[in-house]
């Protein structure tokens, strides 16, 4: 059951910043290191909510993966524009 490998990939992505950066640049290369099927690889590279749901990825894991796969999602989920207005020094 390589869904376990899929979730292991996502766990590695957020625990290993270097892997995260490499994935954003060349996701195909990173995916080669995981024992997943061709279909799973295709769905991961697709990265759409529908593909990830079809893959059986846990909903919250989809959020984490989406941030790695989709820069627009990372931008949509960034809250830095609010911090100054609540007096948070985020430097």
């Amino acid at each position: 059951m390589s869904l376990v490998q899929v979730h292991a990939l996502v766990r590695d992505l957020y625990r290993q910043p270097d892997l995260f950066k490499r994935f954003q640049q060349t996701p195909e290369d990173v995916l080669r290191d995981y024992d997943i099927t061709a279909d799973e690889r295709a769905q991961l590279l697709d990265g759409s909510p529908g593909a990830l749901h079809a893959l059986g990825m846990h909903p919250l894991v989809q959020m984490v993966y989406g941030v790695a796969k989709n820069p627009a999602m990372k931008t949509q989920l960034a809250v830095t524009a609010y911090l100054h207005d609540i007096g948070v020094d985020a430097s």
Binding site: H53, A81, G87
Partner: protein, 273 residues
């Protein structure tokens, strides 16, 4: 005896500024208002009841109820949130672990916990300078089986008894239940919300009848509030800690499909006996 001086329910997420227009700004204003109210109460600590978004939990293990017992926390940094540390309260947390055990309620101890947005965003609203000690209480709201609402209520009652009976005189505590309300995440219904569900939850809690929500089955919550709607567990636990003798005030509510969530905030103040 310590005193729970107020309870709050609030959303624990926002998305890109101005991506939900005035409705998003009203949510932000409401969250700031809650932070200001908490600061005005001059609490000694805050219990923040929230979910973990798979940064500490994993599919390997999902404790139903877990308490973060460290004396300081370094945020995980998701959503580009700052990673500067903020204080915990190990003495309080250890005592609550013990009290819970004695009440036959199993709490899992979390150490080296890295708070994600579910804790740090509400925390920064109430303590932007990161001075208020916080005790994060994590409820599994995302991996089946999530605990029944009745269990969250039981834990809230244990928190109330612990604060009342075991904590130092004059200690002032706020309890904040975070998340929700209705939302569907990672499923085909993504983006759906249900204001009727959201108002039913808020109305029950505001009127001091939060316990009525414990009659709701998980199936009902999932059907009407979405898989993300299970985060009302955090609100129900907070409501139980405050008990039925409360004065409730709705602070904000906005249905924000752009943020895939029905977002609400409220305050409960205890009515003196």
């Amino acid at each position: 005896m310590g005193k729970i001086v107020a309870g709050y329910g609030t959303a624990h997420i926002m998305m890109a500024r101005h991506s939900a227009g005035e409705r998003g700004e009203r949510v932000f204003a409401g969250m700031k208002d809650i932070g200001q109210r908490i600061r005005a109460l001059e609490p000694d600590l805050a219990i923040i009841i929230s979910s973990d978004h798979m940064y500490n939990y994993s599919l390997d293990m999902q404790p139903p109820f877990a308490l973060a017992t460290d004396d300081a926390f370094v945020p995980f940094g998701d959503m580009d949130l700052p990673k500067e540390a903020f204080p915990g309260h190990a003495g309080f947390a250890d005592g609550l672990m013990q009290a819970s055990s004695e009440a036959y309620f199993d709490l899992t101890r979390l150490t080296n916990y890295r708070p994600d947005h579910g804790v740090i965003l509400p925390y920064l609203m109430m303590s932007p300078q990161r001075t208020l000690p916080a005790v994060p209480l994590i409820i599994n709201t995302s991996c089946d089986p999530v605990p029944p609402l009745r269990r969250a209520w039981q834990l809230g009652e244990i928190i109330a008894a612990f604060c009342r009976d075991k904590r130092p005189a004059q200690e002032r505590i706020v309890v904040v239940g975070t998340g929700g309300l209705s939302h569907w995440l990672g499923v085909p219904e993504l983006g759906k919300t249900n204001p009727q569900f959201d108002h039913a939850v808020m109305d029950a809690i505001l009127s001091g009848h939060g316990k009525n929500l414990t009659a709701w089955s998980q199936e009902k919550v999932r059907a009407e509030g979405g898989n993300g709607g299970q985060e009302i567990l955090n609100w129900v636990c907070m409501a139980a800690a405050l008990g039925p003798s409360v004065k409730g005030e709705r602070i904000y509510y906005e249905d924000i499909p752009e943020w895939v969530t029905g977002m609400g905030g409220l305050e409960l103040r205890p009515i003196a006996a």
